[in-house]
Subunit: 273 residues, 2 copies
């Protein structure tokens, strides 16, 4: 199973911590963080990390593309170009390989899903979000998430999710659509679960590199003076739901949608040029 | 007692909620918030609100200058110009009044303190922060604060405070200096308290418009599934310390420093032009 996940969002939204939490790794231990002076000139770089892991008996080679520097400067005009180029280059490489003589073992390095991090401090989508999502949504499956969701009370989170959904709709931004169930084969409970999943987007995620003790159990969490946020507790965070979607329930559909929807659209545009 | 406080920082850092919490008002009830499209073009506006209140028997006319739109666009180049102009216009007005015939009742509308909000998601100062603070620090007393500090664990907060202090030093940014005690007259305990105050900068603040019940008491706070953050609890937030500095312990020194330090520097520069 090969899967490529891209992670996009301004620095400080907890992206690397979330990736570590989701896949129990420490991919970013030696990351060099640019200082404020280095970030005056917009520089969006892209970093690749590949890891093998196993979830519920399924072995997966997961490639994570990180986008440090995104929207971190004083002037962020077109900071999304590097991101779009990365997605298109990988679609282009597949097209090239597919058009070649030896088509037997094409490496599928296309981006199967883009986790777009939305700040919990916004009132919905910010201008950079709208611009970047508009440039990306026809090229890759987008799953918007609200990072550091532990900064929001339950009421604020519900309001923000609604504002984000309204903004996505108002700007005609198409995010990844969870496929509907075939009414023949799926049972009622599955349909209800699926509907709840659709309505949870954007997922409110919390991540942590720390282990804390709660009622005798050791869990990933954030220890505050007023309480402990548990990353895997569904009342505190939707990180577990996101993980399940990415590596278990919707892995295949995300790959199919990339191949049949985004890639084909890209291919026909390219061939017509 | 007339005091003018300016509040600067990108939207979503809890500025208006903090002002409401500090001064128990609802200044911003009818604020209109621009949508993402309206914010594509940088527009920093300035809004004035004046209120009278009493704290510990002292009556105060407090004017708050808010800076909506600051650093909220895709391209934030020079977004601090409007803020600097506001401070300089008020210094200029005082100079004009002071140079006039009738000098008996000059209205002191100079900005006595600028609360600069730093995001708890940064790794210290961001490029816009450095640029804005550099433009402001010679014109007005700056008190940097970390907004929405309830998003940080105790360890993260200590690290961020240190990073901000290092960045301020590295960029030679001068923030408001709490005056040292005269070693003759002040007792040991006062000196220790004063030293602790200096070392707390930037103050980590939390604000709330909600009242929650904690152990039978009604307090301003934020109700999370994992606990309650109390705005006035010194273990949770330094908002009470900030309020005390602004309206009680350092009100006069902030006004003196404005008059004797920032205004005089401005005046000599203006007279030499
Ligand atoms: N409040 C909160 N802080 C977090 C969360 N995840 C990470 N952090 C903290 O935010 C800081 C930056 O996180 P990082 O993952 O490096 O952010 P990135 O720049 O988006 O990759 C670290 O100090 C983390 O401890 C979260 O879910 N909630
Ligand atoms: N986590 C957290 N959220 C806050 C805090 N203060 C305000 N908020 C929330 O942040 C949102 C925006 O606050 P607001 O004061 O309008 O921010 P402003 O744009 O900087 O003036 C509101 O939903 C508040 O409830 C705080 O101290 N911590």
């Amino acid at each position: 199973f090969e899967f490529t996940l891209m992670v996009v969002g301004e620095s400080g939204l907890g992206k690397s911590t979330l990736i570590n939490s989701l896949f129990l790794t420490d991919l970013y231990k030696d990351r060099k963080v640019p200082t404020a002076e280095e970030r005056i000139e917009p520089t969006v770089s892209l970093e690749d990390h590949t890891m093998d892991f196993e979830e519920k008996g399924v072995r997966m080679r997961l490639t994570i593309i990180d986008t440090p520097g995104f929207a971190d400067s004083v002037n962020n005009t077109n900071c999304w170009d590097t991101v779009v180029k990365c997605v298109e280059d990988r679609l282009g490489k597949y097209l090239h390989d597919e058009s070649g003589l030896n088509r037997r073992h094409i490496n599928d390095s296309r981006v199967h899903c883009c986790l777009y991090f939305i700040s919990p401090f916004g009132r919905g989508l910010r201008p950079v979000d709208v611009a970047c999502l508009t440039a990306l949504h026809d090229r890759v499956n987008i799953l918007p998430v609200i990072g550091k969701a532990d900064c929001l009370t339950y009421t604020e989170l519900r309001a923000l999710k609604q504002q984000v959904r309204d903004d996505l709709e108002r700007h005609s931004i198409r995010t990844y659509e969870f496929p509907d169930c075939d009414s023949e084969e799926e049972d009622e409970e599955y349909k209800i679960e699926n509907q709840k999943l659709k309505e949870s987007v954007p997922f409110a995620v919390v991540g942590s590199n720390m282990v804390v003790e709660v009622n005798g159990r050791k869990v990933r969490g954030r220890l505050y003076p007023w309480g402990i946020v548990e990353v895997e507790n569904m009342l505190h965070s939707e990180s577990a739901t996101l993980r399940s979607v990415l590596v278990q329930t919707h892995t295949q559909d995300l790959k199919d949608s990339t191949a049949e929807h985004h890639y084909e659209a890209f291919r026909s545009q390219r061939l017509q040029m």
